[in-house]
């Protein structure tokens, strides 16, 4: 060992010691976060000395509060006994004058604390929905637009499995809840995903290329796999049928996507939407920060309680996921053209799928606290003793809300693309551009409507679980103070289906020979109006379960007509709306295949209808969020943490409707600016510089 190595070794030892010291110091300071996780009765503690001292002091303080007078007497007695005084350790934890200073409760001027929180939260959720919903849309479009190189075909295997998981889950949960198939969601998910995996893999090697054979093979293999991995004692026929159907769906989609003819329009669409996603991502973070700050001022005790209820989630899980998603999102946005140029489109698609997986994980993670507020696990006394953080996160409504938001965000993505298309069509002068954006509007509407079809079922599943948890909440929504809110929801759903069909009607006016379907479509419109009327028909026309002062108690449907307000009538109406829309969509599809479409010649009314629909969808989404939040009544966390502020009551319908409209206007004003900045402005700049409008096409392999 030479002399030069000795200082080097010393240095290494010093670094190790410093590192150990830092590790120890860090561990001690992590204690507040870990303390909640450590079960009662454990002998091991991560607590640092200050924390322990503070806890002991807190216990003493509680005792003092209870027996203040007695303590004073005891102290006097102890002093008289001449025993040595205990050392005063208060300097270790005394925070200084701050403990004496009581700030007056701040009230947001003009809004009040509740509405300020409401606005910040709603805006955050809308932007978050955009950055979760649109990437789903974008990846599908990117796959559809990518030339089928070897790398792309590999990535399509993964994207098909991902799509299979999503579709299988949605179909499966409908089978489980509506039809009553035990563990239907697992059968659906496994069969669809595995069916898609098998067919995609075989298709990759140019095997099983026929659509029918693919569907059959996926149905059989998916069913076998689903039955093998789903943990049930008795296999039921209904479950096998569900798995088989899902397998077929997975196989069909996998085959169709794998061999779809690449169309560059899809690639361009995906790329343009991605530019908007990047800016929306910043707004999501911004509004999220705003929401947190508002909560810290307006409801500091509650937000502190909530964060401490989920320490691992908020201190480790959420930041990690958020940072990862941010990194992947920027990689996805900025690697688009470089990877295209270097012929690595497959890698880019995989990045998009990873982005979606991270986004969905984040969505599910944050649904935990949201549903904990509404349906905290029972018994409440065991929330922090017997139950772990995972138990608190996975509440009764956690998965239903995940399903609901997954489908809702997909719909959101479709309609937002429709709005982007409408804007860009209106802002474009070039006929080719108009043709293209006319087509984008068609795609946005098609995807938005198709995903919207299972949405009522997802809502039903969510509310059914709420009823199961505590029927009082369900009744508050359906029959009491929120009954008129739900009536408005019915009106909105009807409006959206009507607008969607009007858009199809207007679109078909620019297709040759499509007019032959118009007489049938008119009959469909009559049925839609009747269905919407039934959906809107309430049991009573006063806003609470029982009439309150000033209400007219006679405004109740007679018993023999009450069936019009029951679920049977509503389900029939919903089925009619969905069925007519599907039939019209089939007419529309046949028309596009049999007649010449004059892209770019759409009646501008169609574009305004797209905006109308997008606005209605986002208004409805905000409205449903309002209903969900207000259904906790005067509780921040139902039956666990009471709201004792002056604004704890449910605001009236008219006031809520006006406020939601304001929030949605703010969102759309920002979105208009984002669309202009993200797509229109760069395009105008490019046009001036006479650079081709399209994104750089992929190079040949």
């Amino acid at each position: 060992m030479d002399a030069a190595q000795i200082p080097q070794k010393k240095l290494t030892s010093s670094i190790k010691l410093t590192f150990l010291f830092l590790l120890f110091y860090g561990l001690m300071h992590l204690a507040p976060a870990l303390s909640v996780n450590i079960g009662a009765g454990t002998s091991f503690t991560f607590f640092g000395p200050q924390i322990v001292a503070a806890e002991e002091d807190e216990d003493e303080e509680e005792d003092e509060d209870e027996d203040e007078d007695e303590d004073e007497d005891e102290e006097e007695a102890e002093a008289g006994d001449g025993e040595p005084e205990e050392e005063d350790l208060s300097y270790l934890y005394d925070i200084g004058p701050a403990k004496e200073i009581q700030n007056a409760q701040f009230v947001f001027p003009g809004l009040g604390n509740r509405k300020a929180t409401w606005m910040a939260a709603q805006l955050h959720i809308l932007f978050a929905s955009f950055i979760l919903g649109c990437p789903m849309f974008v990846v599908i479009m990117e796959v559809m637009g990518a030339r089928r190189t070897q790398g792309v075909r590999k990535s399509i295997i993964l994207s098909n499995v991902f799509l299979g998981v999503l579709i299988g889950t949605v179909v499966g949960i409908i089978g489980e809840i509506i039809i009553g198939i035990h563990l239907g969601v697992l059968y659906g998910m496994w069969a669809c995903a595995f069916g898609a995996l098998v067919v995609s893999s075989l298709n990759y090697f140019h095997k099983l290329m026929d659509v029918k054979s693919s569907a059959l093979a996926a149905g059989v293999v998916g069913t076998i796999f689903a039955c093998l991995v789903t943990p049930v004692e008795h296999l039921e026929t209904s479950a096998i049928i569900l798995a088989f159907v899902n397998g077929i769906v997975g196989g069909l989609l996998a085959n169709l996507i794998m061999f779809a003819e690449a169309d560059f329009k899809f690639e361009r669409l995906a790329h343009e939407i991605t530019k908007v996603i990047g800016i929306c991502y910043s707004f999501t973070a911004l509004t999220g920060g705003l929401f947190l700050l508002v909560m810290l001022v307006a409801y500091k005790d509650f937000i502190s309680y909530l964060v401490n209820t989920f320490p691992v989630l908020f201190m480790i899980g959420y930041p990690t996921l958020f940072i990862l998603e941010t990194i992947v999102m920027y990689i996805y946005v900025y690697s688009w053209e470089p990877l295209n140029k270097s012929n690595k489109k497959g890698r880019h698609i995989v990045t998009g799928i990873v982005l979606n997986i991270l986004g969905l994980t984040l969505l599910c993670a944050l649904d935990g606290p949201a549903t904990f507020m509404q349906t905290p696990p029972k018994p409440y006394g065991e929330l922090f003793t017997v139950m772990s953080e995972w138990d608190r996160l996975t509440t009764a409504t956690w998965m239903p809300l995940n399903y609901h938001r997954l489908v809702g965000n997909g719909t959101f993505g479709g309609f937002m693309v429709g709005i982007i298309a409408a804007y860009m069509y209106l802002w474009s002068k070039d006929p080719k551009e108009k043709e293209y954006y006319d087509w984008v509007g068609y795609m946005g509407n098609a995807i938005g409507v198709m995903i919207m079809i299972p949405l009522p079922a997802m809502g039903y599943i969510f509310v059914a679980e709420i009823y199961q948890y505590d029927a009082t909440i369900g009744m508050y929504i359906m029959s009491d103070r929120e009954s008129m809110f739900m009536l408005v929801q019915g009106l909105l759903v009807g409006t959206m289906f009507i607008a969607s069909n009007v858009y199809m009607w207007i679109s078909m006016q620019r297709i040759e020979n499509a007019q032959r379907f118009f007489p049938f479509m008119k009959i469909g419109f009559v049925l839609i109006i009747i269905a919407a009327t039934i959906w809107f028909t309430p049991r009573r026309f006063f806003a609470t379960m029982l009439p309150e002062p000033g209400m007219n108690p006679a405004m109740v449907l007679p018993d023999n007509l009450a069936f019009l307000a029951l679920m049977v009538a509503k389900n029939t109406a919903a089925f009619t709306l969905v069925a007519i829309t599907l039939i019209n969509y089939i007419f529309y599809t046949i028309a596009t295949r049999t007649g010449k479409i004059h892209w770019g010649k759409i009646n501008p009314l169609g574009l305004y209808t797209l905006i109308f629909m997008g606005f209605s969808d986002i208004w409805l989404m905000s409205w449903m969020g309002t209903i969900r939040e207000l259904s906790r009544m005067n509780w921040h966390i139902y039956k666990v943490f009471k709201d004792v502020t002056p604004e704890k009551f449910t605001p009236a319908l008219g006031e809520s409707g006006f406020f939601v409209t304001i929030i949605v206007w703010i969102f759309f004003l920002i979105m208009t600016a984002i669309i202009w900045l993200g797509i229109k402005y760069p395009k105008s700049k490019e046009e001036k510089e006479t650079v081709p409008v399209e994104a750089t096409p992929q190079m040949a392999e």
């Binding site: 806003a543 309150e548 449907l557 606005f615 005067n634 009551f649 949605v664």
Partner: protein
């Protein structure tokens, strides 16, 4: 692609008269079906929505925008139209007063200590309301749903306190007749034992105990398939046990001692239930000149619970639970109107109105003053 575009006049020439005729028909038909006025307005409003949609569908194509100003104006219009619709609808639909809820939320929790009977009953009703019991249970005319039994016409107040408590805390144990279907069986939540304090439960039961009807026999079943106790074989069988003095809950009551096991009176002057034309006693000031077959439920109830002056027919209602007395009456009726020979069931009485219920108290139809 040639579509014949219509002028606005051509567009509405046919549609407007159709709408007007249709609206008139809808209004009249809805009125005939007894839809209240708000529903009539709703149906016509939707017909108007249909008119608007059909007009929109046949409108001539909009001219392309002439410049950014027109584009902006139209864009704002596209947002303004749904905004105006949604703001108007939410403002025009029935509203509630948030301060009324706030007032309720600010009330102190219910403590029975120091409260008198009527105050406890009022507190119980408040609990009934706040736990949304009205969502499934009507109480006579109040409430909107027949998902569960109407606790007024079922007369839940006739049952014992223990039975009512058991039904609240463990609703799956004893399903109400007519509600045995799968959906009804799991409809009643099982968490009230956790949610209600002892005081709240006691107050709730005190309120439910007041739900009785002195003018009608209890009604069972789920609307519209309901029946009265008169035609309920199970009740009639239980009534026989009471009538013959074998019911432990009414020890000391034996109708058969005077009226006879087979309906043949064993005591002079005892009412003969076998003769449907037997008239009501003239000994009582509220005598009704009606033969037995036409007696209203109210008369049966009064004669049994209040007794007959200057006769061995004691006011049994002062001694025994009325639940059993109604059952005994249902059985006594079979002497002149046997169950197996009835061609049709007795009609289910109409739900008593608020005014009728008020009369029960003012006319002293109840033996106790609590309702």
């Amino acid at each position: 692609m040639e579509i014949k575009e219509k002028t606005f006049r051509q567009n509405i020439k046919f549609k407007l008269p159709v709408f007007m005729v249709l609206s008139g028909i809808i209004w009249v038909v809805a009125g005939k079906f007894n839809f209240p006025i708000w529903w009539q307005i709703e149906f016509v409003a939707f017909a108007f929505v249909g008119l608007v949609i059909f007009i929109i569908m046949d409108l001539p194509a909009m001219a392309p925008e002439k410049g950014p100003v027109q584009t902006t104006v139209r864009l704002l219009g596209a947002y303004a139209v749904p905004s105006i619709i949604f703001i108007t609808v939410t403002a025009q639909l029935p509203q509630f007063d948030p301060l009324y809820e706030l007032e309720k939320l600010n009330r102190p929790p219910i403590k029975l200590e120091g409260l008198a009977g009527p105050e406890v009953i009022a507190a119980g009703r408040e609990i009934f309301e706040s736990n949304k019991c009205f969502n499934c249970h009507k109480v006579f005319w109040e409430g909107n749903s027949d998902r569960g039994p109407n606790l007024g016409s079922k007369q839940i107040g006739l049952y014992s306190t223990d039975y009512i408590k058991e039904q609240i805390l463990n609703p799956r144990k004893d399903q109400a007749p007519g509600f045995e279907d799968k959906k009804s069986k799991k409809a009643m939540p099982t968490y009230y034992g956790d949610d209600l304090s002892d005081d709240e439960l006691d107050a709730l039961v005190a309120f439910l105990k007041t739900l009785r009807d002195p003018t009608h026999i209890p009604v069972e079943g789920k609307f519209p398939n309901q029946w009265t106790w008169w035609d309920d074989p199970k009740i009639v069988a239980e009534g026989k046990v009471v009538y013959e003095g074998l019911e432990p809950q009414t020890e000391g009551l034996n109708c058969a001692v005077c009226h006879g096991t087979n309906g043949i009176p064993l005591m002079t002057g005892a009412f003969d239930f076998r003769d449907p034309n037997n008239m009501d006693t003239t000994k009582m000031p509220d005598h009704m000149p009606l033969p037995l077959k036409d007696w209203p439920d109210e008369l049966y109830y009064k004669r049994v619970t209040r007794g007959i002056d200057a006769s061995p027919m004691a006011p049994w209602g002062m001694i025994f639970p009325h639940l059993y007395l109604w059952k005994a009456e249902a059985y006594a009726r079979t002497f002149h109107d046997p169950l197996d020979k009835r061609t049709e069931k007795r009609p289910v009485p109409p739900i008593p109105t608020k005014e009728e219920i008020a009369r029960w108290t003012t006319d002293g139809l109840f033996l106790d003053p609590l309702l």
